[in-house]
Symmetry: C2
Subunit: 519 residues, 2 copies
């Protein structure tokens, strides 16, 4: 990796309710992927930005004269990479397949059989490989993954993330509660579950000792899947290295009743609950699993007392609107969570959610917040800026990297995407693909200038007419954008997806084409 | 136009709760676009379908030996064209731009200024041209369009639909209520509104006298926009030729209160209403506007008495889930409407809805039905088959063409789309594009057979692994499909969109490139 310069328009969300547009801006990224400087082009450089970068900026940094420069075309912009705070890589082949099920029958009918089948490593490679490539193509630079119970398949997921260059928390699923795990797919004992978890942690320590991309995450599937013994072991394991934890909470009303029933004789009643029973959050807290490193998926039906407890512990919530609507779990009250001081990010929750896209999760977070508002809480509505904040900065905090990810700031990592909306500028430049050198842009613009409306030639679902403000363009991207608008994706400064390259710039795993489909 | 043969897999929804898969099937389409026969390939023809079609079927029809044959590749299928029962072509540039507004402020802030600006015909051509191309690319073969108040711009929309080959109901918007229409955009008098409406009807009669593609539709914007005089005139105009009518009903609670207030001294109290006031449906009925030819958009908050009235009058409802969620109108109870015997189709309602896609409307109809179910009505959930029925057969009934559109049946019109999901078959055939002749398919398959997983090479958001059932594939298409999966689109047997052709097979209007952008 070499040092790099990025130039042009940058858009990010410094706070929940604000979006910042940095135009004519230069971002210098060091070889290790860290942003060194973010600065506005001085007036003296505006006539010929490339010349200024080469003759003034690069020498002042002490970088080589041939440092590569990537510039946005007119209408394009850099945006922070999306962070998927809750995604089951192992369920990826089932996206869209959920019928009319709800959580507990969905698990047994669709989910457990598929997850179990991934102990076939050839199948796991195919599923995980495609999941990583698909989410990268949608701009997901960091994912908090659930794999399966299987150790080799989970390790394979880690290897494939490393190979593809996607930042990931990789979790081996723990589930030893025989009553609620199928006999064909579970940990037989708490001891085995802990040992298998440690094996996956050791693997990640071996393949990525500096944690440049990978971190292990302790993954009790959800309370009903785990014995008290196992939950206690995972709580103690967390303390050993302050490891991240991910699990589900309060997704579905039947699930909540089940948790109370399972733990009522094990966990004391939780403070502030009306029913004299332990709360769902109280169960996790009892076992030391509510920590600042904990990602709680869903949190649809949390009580006030649970929200207070979660806030006090500093745990985070992954909001998964696509899943919550699709499998009829409920409408999570994101504004309510935020107002209580809880940090929130977005998750696709494939395959409870059907979409691999965090942009779609943001879109659906907007819609679901309006369904909450229809219940009478008009303030519940989330704005364009707010859902984009959740998709980036919010997610960064949820995965414990709020100081390194989500913004274009010195010291942050260059995990970013180049977005193009097919904007036609005054010169007829449709802005397909970034240019490596601004000088190229001038040529492209003059070639295209004979035609002032070329959108038919670019394949995008976002239709920009040219008169829109930047705010309008961002709204159009949020509501009609898809992977076609994500032109390039970088993680740690490395280009990991490029729509303009053959095969999208992705080298398929060498063994994949030789493998047979294993149904 | 010549006679044509289509061969392969056909999928449609003969009833609300059923989907039918017709494989190895031949559909013969006459030059005028009508389906002559739908028949299963006999066993004797299966070894070499093309030969059987050419040597047995074509001669038996008395058709020319060189009759063109279009066949699905493995995994592809023909599906009826989508019917958009409620779409404001004039609002297309505003998709995604709605902030936190609700209906009445949204109209004043975003909608009226844009609609008014389309009296600039160069701008109208650009907006309408792109709207038609975009919706065709998403498989919309029929659209019930709202244009604007302006006659020449409305006539231009009709002309452009005819040119592009999209079937359309084209409505000039009537709005003469000065109190609720801006002074810069309205009909000054009821007489002018009626005359302008007649002018647009005359234009359609001139350019498409046989109504092969176009029909005029009487379009009182919604009750608050119209005087009683105008509503009465439109009711009488309907009777002259049994013309279709489209309007809005019961979208938003403030709107309903406004209607009652505006018409309480004009329209008698409606039967069955608790408040002793006219109901929204009662207002339309009073003026003769509730007819079997009437399309009522939204119907979110209808009362039991209104539903009975609508059912008795045979009027239809256009369900617009994207819009209803986006501008916080409410969650329409589709099951409740269907159970009351009301026919329902889907509408994008751009730009209250942000998406040009009826597939997305179907997807969101599924989600919204689950939000209704979360309120306690578990039976409210709509299945995959049900929302696809609404998108096709349901829509056909709503636009008054249930006997000609929505199914692959003799006597129906060939308004259809070819869907490809990037399925990899046993020979490694990824199924990009249909083949005009099955002989070509064999060659393509053998070329591709070296690679059993080519999905990286095809640009699709639907990821099919190969082991899915047809039911699963349809669900995957519904939930992750987009315009990339709509390979070709036909209306009246004419190919009107082709993704594999340069410029998607669409010839841009000759004058477009020469026009300046008028913001």
């Amino acid at each position: 990796m070499a040092n790099q310069i990025f130039f042009g328009s940058f858009v990010h969300t410094p706070a929940l309710d604000s979006i910042e547009y940095l135009h004519d801006t230069v971002v210098a990224v060091e070889a290790k992927g860290t942003i060194l400087t973010v600065e506005s082009l001085p007036p003296i450089g505006r006539h010929n930005p490339l010349a200024w970068i080469r003759t003034t900026l690069v020498p002042s940094l002490g970088w080589e004269a041939n440092t590569p420069v990537t510039a946005t075309r007119p209408g394009q912009f850099f945006f922070p990479g999306f962070i998927d705070t809750h995604i089951h890589a192992s369920q990826y082949p089932n996206v869209g397949i959920f019928g009319k099920s709800t959580l507990l029958d969905w698990l047994n009918k669709y989910t457990f059989p598929l997850e179990a089948s991934l102990r076939d490593l050839a199948k796991a490679r195919r599923v995980y490989g495609r999941c990583i490539r698909k989410t990268l193509s949608h701009g997901t630079t960091t994912a908090a993954y659930y794999a399966t119970v299987d150790v080799p398949a989970t390790n394979l997921l880690a290897d494939l993330c490393l190979q593809a260059g996607q930042r990931a928390l990789v979790g081996r699923v723990c589930m030893d509660q025989h009553a609620f795990s199928p006999d064909y797919y579970r940990d037989e004992t708490p001891e085995e579950a802990e040992a298998a978890t440690r094996a996956c942690m050791d693997h990640i320590a071996r393949v990525d000792p500096e944690h440049t991309l990978l971190r292990p995450v302790l993954t009790p599937r959800f309370a009903p899947s785990c014995t008290a013994d196992l939950l206690g072991r995972l709580g103690r394991l967390h303390k050993e290295g302050n490891w991240p934890i991910q699990t589900h909470i309060s997704e579905n009303r039947n699930e909540i009743a089940l948790v109370k029933d399972l733990f009522k004789d094990i966990v004391p009643p939780s403070k502030g609950e009306d029913d004299g029973m332990p709360s769902y959050a109280g169960v996790y807290d009892h076992f030391g699993l509510l920590t600042p490193q904990t990602i709680l998926a869903h949190g649809v039906h949390l009580t006030e007392a649970e929200a207070s407890l979660i806030r006090d512990r500093g745990s985070k919530v992954s909001h998964c609107p696509c899943s919550n609507s699709a499998i009829t779990s409920g409408a999570a009250r994101v504004r309510w969570l935020l107002d209580r001081g809880i940090e929130v990010g977005l998750g696709t929750d494939m395959s409870g959610g059907y979409s691999p896209s965090i942009l779609e999760a943001a879109r659906l977070a907007s819609l679901v917040s309006r369904h909450v508002a229809m219940g009478g809480e008009d303030a519940a509505k989330l704005s364009v800026e707010e859902v984009l904040f959740l998709a980036t900065v919010g997610g960064a905090h949820v995965v414990g990297m709020g100081d390194r990810l989500g913004l274009f700031r010195p010291g942050m990592l260059w995990d970013a995407q180049l977005i193009g909306l097919g904007v036609v500028d005054a010169n007829g430049n449709t802005g397909t693909g970034a240019v490596e050198d601004p000088a190229v842009a001038a040529t492209a613009a003059s070639v295209a200038s004979a035609d002032t409306d070329q959108t038919l030639n670019e394949d995008t679902n976002v239709d920009v007419f040219g008169w829109e403000t930047w705010e309008d363009r961002i709204a159009k991207w949020l509501f009609n954008g898809d992977d076609r608008n994500t032109k390039k994706v970088w993680v740690n400064g490395r280009l990991v997806h490029d729509r303009s390259a053959p095969n999208f710039g992705v080298t398929p795993p060498a063994t994949e084409t030789a493998e047979k489909i294993s149904p």
